[in-house]
Amino acid sequence: MTDLAPRLGRDVIAMRVAREFGDGDVVNLGIGIPTLCSDFVPPGVQLMYHSESGLLNCGPLADDGHGDVDLINAGGQFLSPIPGMAYFDSAEAFAMIRGGHIDVTALGALQVSATGDLANWFLPARGVGNVGGAMDLAAGAKRVIAAMEHNGRDGTPKIVPECSYPLTGKGCVSLIVTDIAVIEVLPGGAGLQLIEHAPGWDAASVQSQTEAELEVSPDLTEITLV
Protein backbone atom coordinates (compact mmCIF):
# COMPACT_ATOMS: atom_id res chain seq x y z
CA MET A 1 0.00 0.00 0.00
CA THR A 2 1.35 3.39 -0.91
CA ASP A 3 1.71 6.00 1.79
CA LEU A 4 -1.08 8.55 1.90
CA ALA A 5 1.32 11.30 2.78
CA PRO A 6 5.00 11.84 3.54
CA ARG A 7 6.41 10.34 6.71
CA LEU A 8 7.90 12.54 9.38
CA GLY A 9 11.66 12.91 9.65
CA ARG A 10 13.73 11.60 12.54
CA ASP A 11 14.00 15.14 13.89
CA VAL A 12 10.22 15.44 14.03
CA ILE A 13 9.86 12.12 15.81
CA ALA A 14 12.40 13.40 18.35
CA MET A 15 10.49 16.68 18.63
CA ARG A 16 7.28 14.82 19.42
CA VAL A 17 9.00 12.60 22.00
CA ALA A 18 10.48 15.68 23.67
CA ARG A 19 6.95 17.01 24.29
CA GLU A 20 6.52 14.12 26.75
CA PHE A 21 9.22 15.46 29.07
CA GLY A 22 8.00 17.29 32.16
CA ASP A 23 9.81 20.09 33.95
CA GLY A 24 12.41 18.63 36.30
CA ASP A 25 12.28 15.12 34.81
CA VAL A 26 15.31 12.88 34.91
CA VAL A 27 15.72 11.67 31.35
CA ASN A 28 17.87 9.00 29.74
CA LEU A 29 18.11 9.08 25.94
CA GLY A 30 19.10 5.99 24.01
CA ILE A 31 21.24 5.87 20.88
CA GLY A 32 19.66 6.94 17.54
CA ILE A 33 16.50 9.04 17.29
CA PRO A 34 16.31 9.49 21.11
CA THR A 35 19.66 11.29 21.21
CA LEU A 36 18.11 13.96 18.97
CA CYS A 37 15.40 14.75 21.55
CA SER A 38 17.66 17.00 23.57
CA ASP A 39 17.61 19.54 20.73
CA PHE A 40 13.83 19.91 20.97
CA VAL A 41 13.02 20.26 24.66
CA PRO A 42 10.12 22.72 25.01
CA PRO A 43 10.89 26.13 26.49
CA GLY A 44 10.44 26.26 30.24
CA VAL A 45 11.18 22.56 30.65
CA GLN A 46 14.41 21.92 32.54
CA LEU A 47 15.67 18.34 32.44
CA MET A 48 18.29 16.40 34.33
CA TYR A 49 19.99 14.11 31.83
CA HIS A 50 21.35 10.79 33.00
CA SER A 51 23.89 8.73 31.12
CA GLU A 52 24.97 5.13 31.73
CA SER A 53 28.53 6.33 31.23
CA GLY A 54 28.30 7.66 34.79
CA LEU A 55 27.01 11.18 34.55
CA LEU A 56 24.07 13.23 35.75
CA ASN A 57 23.23 16.62 34.28
CA CYS A 58 25.36 16.43 31.18
CA GLY A 59 25.60 19.29 28.73
CA PRO A 60 24.99 19.06 24.97
CA LEU A 61 27.23 17.16 22.57
CA ALA A 62 30.67 18.76 22.31
CA ASP A 63 31.86 20.33 19.10
CA ASP A 64 34.06 18.10 17.01
CA GLY A 65 37.67 18.48 17.88
CA HIS A 66 36.96 19.52 21.45
CA GLY A 67 36.29 16.07 22.84
CA ASP A 68 37.46 15.04 26.29
CA VAL A 69 37.93 11.26 26.51
CA ASP A 70 36.77 11.49 30.12
CA LEU A 71 33.44 13.15 29.27
CA ILE A 72 31.42 10.86 27.03
CA ASN A 73 27.85 9.62 26.83
CA ALA A 74 26.74 5.99 26.61
CA GLY A 75 27.17 6.08 22.84
CA GLY A 76 30.78 7.20 23.11
CA GLN A 77 30.01 10.75 21.93
CA PHE A 78 31.85 13.66 23.49
CA LEU A 79 29.83 15.90 25.80
CA SER A 80 30.36 19.40 27.08
CA PRO A 81 30.32 20.15 30.80
CA ILE A 82 27.63 22.18 32.54
CA PRO A 83 27.38 23.42 36.13
CA GLY A 84 25.75 20.95 38.52
CA MET A 85 27.03 17.69 37.05
CA ALA A 86 27.83 14.61 39.10
CA TYR A 87 30.05 11.68 38.11
CA PHE A 88 29.70 8.12 39.36
CA ASP A 89 30.61 4.56 38.42
CA SER A 90 28.62 1.93 36.51
CA ALA A 91 27.25 0.21 39.62
CA GLU A 92 25.76 3.53 40.73
CA ALA A 93 24.65 4.55 37.22
CA PHE A 94 22.60 1.38 36.99
CA ALA A 95 21.41 1.55 40.59
CA MET A 96 19.75 4.78 39.44
CA ILE A 97 18.19 3.08 36.42
CA ARG A 98 17.10 -0.14 38.09
CA GLY A 99 15.93 1.66 41.21
CA GLY A 100 13.31 3.68 39.34
CA HIS A 101 15.04 7.05 39.54
CA ILE A 102 14.79 7.73 35.79
CA ASP A 103 11.47 9.43 35.01
CA VAL A 104 11.53 8.87 31.26
CA THR A 105 13.70 7.00 28.83
CA ALA A 106 13.37 7.12 25.08
CA LEU A 107 14.69 4.06 23.28
CA GLY A 108 14.91 2.93 19.70
CA ALA A 109 13.03 -0.23 18.76
CA LEU A 110 13.17 -3.07 16.28
CA GLN A 111 9.68 -4.20 17.33
CA VAL A 112 7.05 -3.28 19.90
CA SER A 113 4.22 -5.69 20.69
CA ALA A 114 0.53 -5.10 21.42
CA THR A 115 1.29 -5.48 25.14
CA GLY A 116 4.28 -3.17 25.17
CA ASP A 117 7.01 -5.77 24.88
CA LEU A 118 10.15 -4.20 23.47
CA ALA A 119 12.69 -5.81 21.15
CA ASN A 120 15.59 -3.55 20.33
CA TRP A 121 18.89 -5.30 20.86
CA PHE A 122 19.31 -8.50 18.93
CA LEU A 123 19.22 -9.14 15.20
CA PRO A 124 18.98 -12.91 15.01
CA ALA A 125 20.60 -12.87 11.58
CA ARG A 126 23.88 -11.65 13.09
CA GLY A 127 23.95 -14.44 15.65
CA VAL A 128 25.53 -12.24 18.31
CA GLY A 129 24.55 -8.86 19.68
CA ASN A 130 25.16 -6.07 22.15
CA VAL A 131 22.69 -5.77 25.00
CA GLY A 132 24.42 -2.83 26.69
CA GLY A 133 22.13 -1.03 29.11
CA ALA A 134 18.90 -1.54 27.14
CA MET A 135 17.42 -4.25 29.37
CA ASP A 136 18.19 -2.26 32.52
CA LEU A 137 16.45 0.83 31.12
CA ALA A 138 13.48 -1.23 29.92
CA ALA A 139 13.06 -2.81 33.35
CA GLY A 140 13.90 0.19 35.50
CA ALA A 141 12.76 3.50 34.03
CA LYS A 142 9.41 4.79 35.26
CA ARG A 143 8.31 5.45 31.68
CA VAL A 144 9.67 3.95 28.47
CA ILE A 145 8.95 5.66 25.15
CA ALA A 146 9.77 3.80 21.97
CA ALA A 147 10.99 6.26 19.32
CA MET A 148 11.16 4.58 15.96
CA GLU A 149 10.29 4.40 12.30
CA HIS A 150 6.87 2.81 11.94
CA ASN A 151 8.12 0.26 9.42
CA GLY A 152 11.41 -1.37 8.55
CA ARG A 153 13.33 -0.34 5.46
CA ASP A 154 11.58 -3.07 3.50
CA GLY A 155 8.19 -1.92 4.77
CA THR A 156 7.80 -4.66 7.40
CA PRO A 157 5.54 -3.50 10.23
CA LYS A 158 7.47 -3.06 13.48
CA ILE A 159 4.38 -2.78 15.70
CA VAL A 160 3.23 -6.35 15.99
CA PRO A 161 0.90 -8.62 17.97
CA GLU A 162 3.93 -10.39 19.42
CA CYS A 163 7.62 -9.69 18.91
CA SER A 164 9.46 -12.21 16.79
CA TYR A 165 12.84 -10.75 17.74
CA PRO A 166 14.27 -11.55 21.17
CA LEU A 167 12.87 -9.25 23.83
CA THR A 168 14.58 -6.42 25.67
CA GLY A 169 11.79 -6.24 28.21
CA LYS A 170 8.23 -7.43 28.70
CA GLY A 171 5.34 -4.97 28.84
CA CYS A 172 7.69 -2.05 29.44
CA VAL A 173 6.76 0.42 26.68
CA SER A 174 4.05 2.95 27.51
CA LEU A 175 4.17 5.17 24.42
CA ILE A 176 5.24 4.60 20.83
CA VAL A 177 6.19 7.59 18.69
CA THR A 178 6.80 6.86 15.01
CA ASP A 179 7.09 8.69 11.73
CA ILE A 180 3.33 8.33 11.13
CA ALA A 181 1.65 7.97 14.52
CA VAL A 182 1.64 8.25 18.28
CA ILE A 183 0.29 5.15 20.01
CA GLU A 184 -0.39 4.53 23.67
CA VAL A 185 0.17 1.12 25.17
CA LEU A 186 -2.85 0.57 27.42
CA PRO A 187 -2.11 -0.64 30.95
CA GLY A 188 -2.48 -4.30 31.87
CA GLY A 189 -1.86 -5.65 28.40
CA ALA A 190 -5.13 -4.12 27.13
CA GLY A 191 -3.68 -3.35 23.72
CA LEU A 192 -2.70 -0.29 21.72
CA GLN A 193 -4.58 2.94 21.23
CA LEU A 194 -3.86 5.30 18.35
CA ILE A 195 -3.93 8.83 19.71
CA GLU A 196 -2.24 10.90 17.00
CA HIS A 197 -1.43 10.55 13.30
CA ALA A 198 0.94 12.42 11.02
CA PRO A 199 -0.49 15.12 8.74
CA GLY A 200 -2.23 13.51 5.78
CA TRP A 201 -2.59 10.15 7.53
CA ASP A 202 -5.68 8.73 9.22
CA ALA A 203 -6.60 5.80 11.43
CA ALA A 204 -7.10 3.39 8.55
CA SER A 205 -3.86 4.25 6.82
CA VAL A 206 -1.88 3.94 10.04
CA GLN A 207 -3.56 0.60 10.77
CA SER A 208 -2.61 -0.62 7.31
CA GLN A 209 1.05 -0.15 8.24
CA THR A 210 0.62 -1.84 11.61
CA GLU A 211 0.40 -5.56 12.20
CA ALA A 212 -0.99 -5.22 15.73
CA GLU A 213 -4.57 -4.12 16.07
CA LEU A 214 -5.04 -0.45 16.99
CA GLU A 215 -7.96 0.83 18.98
CA VAL A 216 -8.67 4.37 17.83
CA SER A 217 -8.88 7.03 20.51
CA PRO A 218 -12.13 9.05 20.49
CA ASP A 219 -9.81 12.04 20.79
CA LEU A 220 -7.64 11.09 17.82
CA THR A 221 -5.83 14.16 16.52
CA GLU A 222 -3.10 15.11 14.16
CA ILE A 223 0.36 15.14 15.74
CA THR A 224 0.98 18.59 17.13
CA LEU A 225 4.40 19.82 18.03
CA VAL A 226 3.69 23.14 19.69
Binding site: D70, F94, V128, A139, T168
Partner: protein, 247 residues
Protein backbone atom coordinates in the same frame (compact mmCIF):
# COMPACT_ATOMS: atom_id res chain seq x y z
CA UNK B 1 57.95 0.70 56.34
CA UNK B 2 55.04 2.86 55.24
CA UNK B 3 52.65 0.99 53.00
CA UNK B 4 53.62 1.46 49.37
CA UNK B 5 51.80 -0.54 46.71
CA UNK B 6 53.84 0.85 43.84
CA UNK B 7 55.13 -1.63 41.30
CA UNK B 8 57.91 -0.33 39.12
CA UNK B 9 56.93 -1.66 35.73
CA UNK B 10 53.92 -2.83 33.80
CA UNK B 11 55.81 -6.05 33.05
CA UNK B 12 56.24 -6.76 36.75
CA UNK B 13 52.65 -5.75 37.51
CA UNK B 14 51.18 -8.53 35.35
CA UNK B 15 53.95 -11.11 35.72
CA UNK B 16 51.96 -13.57 37.89
CA UNK B 17 48.82 -13.71 35.74
CA UNK B 18 48.73 -17.38 34.83
CA UNK B 19 47.10 -19.37 32.03
CA UNK B 20 43.39 -19.80 32.67
CA UNK B 21 43.08 -16.74 34.92
CA UNK B 22 39.83 -14.76 35.13
CA UNK B 23 40.45 -11.07 34.50
CA UNK B 24 38.35 -7.96 34.67
CA UNK B 25 39.46 -5.14 32.38
CA UNK B 26 38.18 -1.66 33.24
CA UNK B 27 36.66 1.10 31.16
CA UNK B 28 33.54 1.55 29.11
CA UNK B 29 34.75 0.98 25.57
CA UNK B 30 36.34 4.23 24.49
CA UNK B 31 39.74 5.65 25.25
CA UNK B 32 38.92 6.94 28.73
CA UNK B 33 39.37 4.79 31.79
CA UNK B 34 41.03 1.82 30.11
CA UNK B 35 44.28 0.25 31.31
CA UNK B 36 46.05 0.35 27.95
CA UNK B 37 49.57 -0.30 29.15
CA UNK B 38 48.53 -3.19 31.40
CA UNK B 39 46.81 -4.79 28.40
CA UNK B 40 49.94 -4.37 26.27
CA UNK B 41 52.07 -5.82 29.07
CA UNK B 42 49.70 -8.76 29.37
CA UNK B 43 49.91 -9.33 25.63
CA UNK B 44 53.70 -9.42 25.86
CA UNK B 45 53.54 -11.65 28.96
CA UNK B 46 51.56 -14.16 26.93
CA UNK B 47 49.22 -15.89 29.45
CA UNK B 48 46.65 -17.93 27.53
CA UNK B 49 43.20 -19.42 27.93
CA UNK B 50 42.08 -16.30 29.79
CA UNK B 51 38.53 -15.26 30.63
CA UNK B 52 38.09 -11.51 30.28
CA UNK B 53 35.20 -9.62 31.84
CA UNK B 54 34.29 -6.10 30.87
CA UNK B 55 31.72 -3.86 29.25
CA UNK B 56 33.02 -4.47 25.75
CA UNK B 57 35.36 -6.97 24.16
CA UNK B 58 37.02 -4.23 22.15
CA UNK B 59 35.63 -1.71 19.71
CA UNK B 60 36.24 -2.15 15.99
CA UNK B 61 38.97 0.04 14.57
CA UNK B 62 38.89 2.56 12.97
CA UNK B 63 36.24 3.85 15.26
CA UNK B 64 34.76 6.70 17.20
CA UNK B 65 33.49 5.91 20.67
CA UNK B 66 35.67 8.36 22.43
CA UNK B 67 38.85 7.57 20.52
CA UNK B 68 40.38 10.71 19.07
CA UNK B 69 40.63 10.73 15.27
CA UNK B 70 43.73 9.11 13.93
CA UNK B 71 44.52 7.23 17.12
CA UNK B 72 44.68 3.46 16.78
CA UNK B 73 42.67 2.03 19.69
CA UNK B 74 44.41 -0.13 22.24
CA UNK B 75 41.81 -2.40 23.75
CA UNK B 76 40.84 -6.04 24.29
CA UNK B 77 41.65 -6.73 20.64
CA UNK B 78 45.37 -6.79 21.43
CA UNK B 79 44.76 -9.85 23.63
CA UNK B 80 42.18 -11.46 21.36
CA UNK B 81 44.31 -11.13 18.23
CA UNK B 82 47.19 -12.67 20.15
CA UNK B 83 45.09 -15.80 20.82
CA UNK B 84 45.06 -15.39 24.60
CA UNK B 85 41.31 -15.28 25.22
CA UNK B 86 39.08 -18.34 25.70
CA UNK B 87 35.98 -16.64 27.06
CA UNK B 88 34.42 -13.20 27.20
CA UNK B 89 31.82 -11.97 29.71
CA UNK B 90 30.51 -8.62 28.46
CA UNK B 91 27.44 -6.52 27.71
CA UNK B 92 28.65 -4.94 24.47
CA UNK B 93 30.99 -7.51 22.92
CA UNK B 94 30.71 -6.77 19.20
CA UNK B 95 31.13 -3.62 17.14
CA UNK B 96 28.16 -1.43 16.30
CA UNK B 97 28.46 -2.40 12.67
CA UNK B 98 27.93 -5.86 11.18
CA UNK B 99 30.22 -4.99 8.32
CA UNK B 100 33.16 -4.13 10.59
CA UNK B 101 33.44 -7.06 12.98
CA UNK B 102 35.92 -6.69 15.80
CA UNK B 103 38.50 -9.31 16.69
CA UNK B 104 36.18 -10.84 19.26
CA UNK B 105 33.37 -11.36 16.73
CA UNK B 106 35.73 -13.10 14.35
CA UNK B 107 36.96 -15.39 17.12
CA UNK B 108 33.40 -16.05 18.28
CA UNK B 109 32.25 -16.97 14.78
CA UNK B 110 35.25 -19.23 14.38
CA UNK B 111 34.19 -21.05 17.55
CA UNK B 112 37.40 -20.09 19.29
CA UNK B 113 35.95 -17.82 21.97
CA UNK B 114 33.01 -18.45 24.27
CA UNK B 115 30.62 -15.62 25.20
CA UNK B 116 28.49 -14.90 28.25
CA UNK B 117 26.33 -11.88 27.47
CA UNK B 118 25.21 -9.89 30.53
CA UNK B 119 23.13 -6.69 30.70
CA UNK B 120 25.36 -3.74 31.54
CA UNK B 121 23.74 -2.97 34.88
CA UNK B 122 23.63 -6.60 35.91
CA UNK B 123 27.31 -6.91 35.02
CA UNK B 124 28.26 -3.96 37.24
CA UNK B 125 26.00 -5.19 40.05
CA UNK B 126 27.39 -8.73 39.91
CA UNK B 127 30.88 -7.27 40.34
CA UNK B 128 29.80 -5.07 43.23
CA UNK B 129 28.06 -8.07 44.82
CA UNK B 130 31.28 -10.08 44.62
CA UNK B 131 33.19 -7.27 46.26
CA UNK B 132 30.48 -6.70 48.88
CA UNK B 133 30.03 -10.32 49.98
CA UNK B 134 26.56 -10.62 48.44
CA UNK B 135 26.40 -14.11 46.96
CA UNK B 136 23.36 -13.46 44.74
CA UNK B 137 20.58 -10.95 44.20
CA UNK B 138 17.21 -10.55 42.52
CA UNK B 139 17.01 -8.02 39.68
CA UNK B 140 14.11 -7.15 37.37
CA UNK B 141 16.52 -6.65 34.48
CA UNK B 142 16.22 -9.26 31.72
CA UNK B 143 13.17 -10.95 33.28
CA UNK B 144 11.20 -12.61 30.50
CA UNK B 145 14.07 -12.33 28.00
CA UNK B 146 16.48 -14.88 26.56
CA UNK B 147 19.19 -13.61 28.92
CA UNK B 148 17.12 -15.03 31.79
CA UNK B 149 16.82 -18.47 30.17
CA UNK B 150 17.66 -21.20 32.64
CA UNK B 151 17.88 -18.80 35.56
CA UNK B 152 15.74 -18.87 38.68
CA UNK B 153 13.14 -16.17 38.85
CA UNK B 154 10.73 -14.97 41.48
CA UNK B 155 8.04 -12.33 41.79
CA UNK B 156 8.56 -9.44 44.23
CA UNK B 157 5.96 -6.68 44.41
CA UNK B 158 4.14 -8.08 41.40
CA UNK B 159 7.23 -7.88 39.20
CA UNK B 160 9.33 -10.78 37.98
CA UNK B 161 12.96 -10.75 39.13
CA UNK B 162 15.89 -12.91 38.03
CA UNK B 163 18.43 -14.39 40.45
CA UNK B 164 21.91 -13.28 39.46
CA UNK B 165 25.15 -14.39 41.10
CA UNK B 166 28.24 -12.53 42.23
CA UNK B 167 30.97 -12.35 39.59
CA UNK B 168 34.52 -12.79 40.90
CA UNK B 169 37.90 -12.41 39.24
CA UNK B 170 41.48 -13.36 39.95
CA UNK B 171 42.75 -10.02 38.73
CA UNK B 172 41.26 -6.65 37.83
CA UNK B 173 43.19 -4.36 35.53
CA UNK B 174 41.81 -0.89 36.21
CA UNK B 175 42.69 2.64 35.19
CA UNK B 176 42.57 5.76 37.33
CA UNK B 177 43.89 9.28 37.15
CA UNK B 178 45.74 9.32 40.48
CA UNK B 179 46.79 6.81 43.13
CA UNK B 180 48.39 7.47 46.48
CA UNK B 181 50.94 4.98 47.75
CA UNK B 182 48.42 3.21 49.98
CA UNK B 183 46.29 2.46 46.92
CA UNK B 184 43.50 5.04 47.16
CA UNK B 185 42.35 5.92 43.64
CA UNK B 186 40.72 8.99 42.10
CA UNK B 187 39.27 8.98 38.60
CA UNK B 188 38.39 11.72 36.13
CA UNK B 189 34.91 12.34 34.74
CA UNK B 190 33.18 9.46 32.99
CA UNK B 191 36.29 7.30 33.26
CA UNK B 192 34.98 5.64 36.41
CA UNK B 193 32.51 3.21 34.75
CA UNK B 194 33.47 -0.38 35.56
CA UNK B 195 36.77 0.38 37.28
CA UNK B 196 35.42 0.82 40.84
CA UNK B 197 33.20 -2.31 40.92
CA UNK B 198 35.99 -4.35 39.31
CA UNK B 199 38.47 -3.20 41.94
CA UNK B 200 36.02 -4.53 44.55
CA UNK B 201 35.48 -7.88 42.84
CA UNK B 202 39.00 -9.11 42.13
CA UNK B 203 41.42 -10.89 44.44
CA UNK B 204 44.25 -8.76 43.03
CA UNK B 205 43.51 -5.32 41.63
CA UNK B 206 46.23 -3.67 39.58
CA UNK B 207 45.71 0.02 38.88
CA UNK B 208 47.32 1.84 35.96
CA UNK B 209 47.45 5.53 36.83
CA UNK B 210 48.74 8.76 35.40
CA UNK B 211 50.32 9.76 38.68
CA UNK B 212 51.32 8.22 42.03
CA UNK B 213 51.34 10.67 44.93
CA UNK B 214 52.30 10.51 48.61
CA UNK B 215 49.57 9.56 51.10
CA UNK B 216 47.53 12.71 51.60
CA UNK B 217 48.00 13.71 47.98
CA UNK B 218 44.37 12.75 47.34
CA UNK B 219 41.77 14.53 49.47
CA UNK B 220 40.17 11.80 51.64
CA UNK B 221 36.77 13.25 50.68
CA UNK B 222 37.64 12.69 47.02
CA UNK B 223 38.82 9.07 47.06
CA UNK B 224 36.68 7.04 44.64
CA UNK B 225 38.18 3.59 45.20
CA UNK B 226 39.56 3.18 48.73
CA UNK B 227 42.97 1.50 48.92
CA UNK B 228 41.49 -1.55 50.64
CA UNK B 229 40.48 -2.76 47.18
CA UNK B 230 43.81 -2.13 45.46
CA UNK B 231 46.88 -4.36 45.66
CA UNK B 232 49.25 -2.87 43.08
CA UNK B 233 49.66 0.51 41.44
CA UNK B 234 51.80 1.32 38.45
CA UNK B 235 52.39 4.71 36.88
CA UNK B 236 52.23 5.46 33.17
CA UNK B 237 55.35 7.13 31.82
CA UNK B 238 55.15 10.92 32.19
CA UNK B 239 54.68 11.46 28.46
CA UNK B 240 51.44 9.48 28.51
CA UNK B 241 49.93 11.36 31.45
CA UNK B 242 47.24 13.97 31.62
CA UNK B 243 44.49 12.14 29.82
CA UNK B 244 46.53 11.26 26.75
CA UNK B 245 45.71 7.90 25.33
CA UNK B 246 49.07 6.49 24.31
CA UNK B 247 52.41 5.96 25.99
Amino acid sequence: MPIDKTVNSFTEAVSDISDGAVLMIGGFGGAGGMPHLLMLALRDQGARNLTIIGNTAGIAAPTGFGWPDGVEPIDHAVLIENGQIAKVIASFPVSGSVSRPNAFEKGFRAGEIELELVPQGTLAERMRAAGAGIAAFYTPTAAGTMLADGKESRVFGGKEHVLEHALYADFALVRARTADMVGNLAYTGTSRTFNPPMAMAAKVTIAEVDEIVEPGGIDPERVDTPGIYVQRIVARPPASGGGMVLP
